[in-house]
């Protein structure tokens, strides 16, 4: 759509600007402020070496390890949830009562508070009282997510797939719904294979919403805190200590405000950088469709 230039539009944006400035800019400035000071017994002392905390963190393995675990986690769940979500969406009923039933049931995990999601899986995976743990134990699988790092990882990934695949599926479904029947009829006349229909009709039409799905899933999985905290508490050892868990440990547990603030800033910048790439791709896709 052609937009007109109108500087007065700023007035319409003003309420949002004030609100977000209050709840984002002030806290962010606080973080920046901490990152260049030394907190000791409630007093703050300016650092001689302004970037000391940043340098220390970059030289320390702790943040790198958390970042590596985080990257593996996010990459894994994206690799599972995106194709699975598309697959499920392709098999959803298009209309009728069943479509509504599927939509409601699929949205259910999305509206469960995150710590309850953690609680559900914590219980579900327990070998003594949980259905999953009990069944695995009964068929002879040595499964214990509190002791074994691999089991903990598998539990968290299955949990995340359970929690969020529906989001991808619903997005893909919305994309599929927008394809006119005529496209399928044309494909039929051309005797296109099922794969060709998917590759040349359905996938291009879904690209826009899939980018939103990837962006949302990336952002949220990169910030994941509550669910793994409830299920594994970051353990066994540090095996599932992702970035947010490590950060909260540092800031609220050990009260190392300076390093925690430096950690926060670098954490935020990493998310920002990757999200910016996704966002730019998304906007360009939008534009191309518009033309």
């Amino acid at each position: 759509m052609d937009k007109t230039v109108n500087q007065k539009a700023w007035f319409l944006v003003l309420p949002v600007l004030i609100l977000v400035a209050f709840s984002a800019v002030i806290p962010l400035m606080t973080v920046v402020n901490y990152s260049i000071q030394d907190a000791f017994a409630g007093e703050f002392y300016p650092l001689d070496d302004k970037l000391m905390w940043f340098r220390e963190l970059l030289e320390d393995d702790r943040m790198w390890n958390a970042l590596r675990r985080q990257a593996i986690f996010s990459a894994t769940i994206l690799a599972i949830e995106i194709p699975l979500g598309v697959f499920v969406a392709l098999h959803m009923p298009k209309r009728g009562v069943w479509a509504s039933v599927c939509l409601v049931l699929m949205s259910l995990p999305l509206l469960i508070p995150w710590n309850v999601v953690g609680t559900i899986w914590q219980i579900f995976g327990r070998v003594d009282i949980g259905l999953l743990g009990y069944t695995l134990d009964a068929v002879g699988v040595d499964y214990n997510y509190t002791q074994d790092a691999l089991d903990a990882w598998v539990t968290l990934i299955v949990m995340d797939v359970w929690h969020w695949t529906s989001l991808v599926a619903l997005l893909a479904y919305a994309g599929l719904q927008s394809i006119p029947d005529a496209y399928y009829q044309a494909a039929k006349i051309d005797q296109a294979s099922r794969w060709a229909v998917f590759r040349y009709i359905e996938l291009p039409k879904m690209m826009g919403v899939l980018m939103i799905a990837i962006l949302l899933r990336f952002m949220d999985s990169f910030m994941i805190y509550t669910e793994p905290f409830v299920v594994t508490g970051g353990g066994p050892g540090n095996a599932t200590t992702f970035l947010s868990i490590d950060l909260v440990k540092m800031a609220l547990g050990q009260f190392d405000l300076g390093p925690a603030a430096a950690f926060s800033i670098m954490y935020f910048l990493v998310i920002l950088l990757i999200s910016w790439v996704f966002y730019t791709v998304m906007v360009n896709l939008d534009k191309r469709e518009g033309n």
């Binding site: 499920v88 995150w114 259905l131």
Partner: protein
């Protein structure tokens, strides 16, 4: 022809969807199952359904004010947040969808970056900010803190829906002598009613499920149900039945809201961009 394809692929629909829905429902079923058992039965025997059906766990929650006030608190701040977020997002989304202005693209992305900010980064500064202005442990503090990620999302969703409304409608209304506020409320709002509903749904959703900030910003008076649950787990040890019942009750409001917006869910999740 569309009917033919639908009927031919019907058996496959059932299998994939059945398995997927089974996968989704099993953990939830297990939670409900546990909430209807006594603690002895949970720990003592393993059964796929309750042997001695009991509603005692639910009674415990609904008669103890430290439990049920958690739900009331959550609903209060979620409602405040939803109203606030949608109200400020509406004019902003209109501006983004209709006009070019200095720095609009940067502003839009900057708004989105707040959706990307990890709550863990903001927990401590928020705690200090709201303590210093005397808002700690109030509903409005949590509602304001949640606008951090809900306002950008609401703007994003509403902008998507508003782009779908032809600009000619605005121009015709102005020619007919409508003032901007009157046009916005009388003509424009009804056109994007589903968008407003979807935006409100998402604000509700993300405010309802968030724990880290709401727990950090409250202690007694505004303590959300999610935080009440975590405290009880650590304090009384293993009251699994009550924990499961509390969990089931947190799912209910979400399920109700979904039912009301079921026809817009798919479009809503696509942020109005389909």
């Amino acid at each position: 022809m569309a009917d033919m394809t639908a009927s031919r692929s019907l058996p496959r629909i059932n299998w994939v969807m059945l398995l997927y829905l089974l996968f989704l429902m099993l953990p939830i079923y297990w939670l409900i199952n546990m909430s209807l058992k006594t603690n002895d039965e949970i720990l003592g025997t393993f059964s796929l359904w309750p042997q001695n059906l009991t509603f005692q766990n639910y009674v415990t929650i609904l008669t103890d004010s430290s439990w049920y006030m958690g739900y009331v608190n959550s609903i209060i701040y979620v409602t405040m947040n939803t109203l606030l977020s949608v109200a400020v997002a509406l004019p902003a989304a209109y501006a983004f969808s209709r006009y070019n202005f200095l720095g609009d693209k940067h502003l839009f992305f900057w708004l989105l970056t707040n959706r990307m900010a990890p709550p863990a980064v903001f927990a401590l500064p928020f705690f200090q900010l709201y303590s210093s202005v005397g808002l700690f442990d109030t509903h409005i503090a949590v509602a304001l803190a949640h606008t951090l990620f809900n306002v950008p999302l609401a703007v994003w969703i509403l902008e998507g829906f508003m782009r779908g409304v032809p600009k000619e409608i605005d121009e015709t209304a102005y020619i007919d002598g409508y003032s901007f506020p009157r046009f916005f409320v009388k003509i424009f709002m009804p056109l994007i009613a589903s968008g407003v509903g979807v935006a409100a749904f998402f604000c509700f959703m993300f405010s309802w499920v968030e724990l880290l900030l709401s727990r950090t910003l409250t202690s007694v008076d505004a303590k959300p149900i999610a935080a009440t649950m975590t405290r009880t787990v650590s304090a009384s040890g293993l009251d699994w039945g009550v924990l499961a019942a509390a969990g089931v009750l947190t799912i209910v409001p979400g399920a109700l809201v979904i039912y009301f917006v079921r026809n817009y869910i798919a479009k809503g999740f696509a942020l109005g961009r389909v």
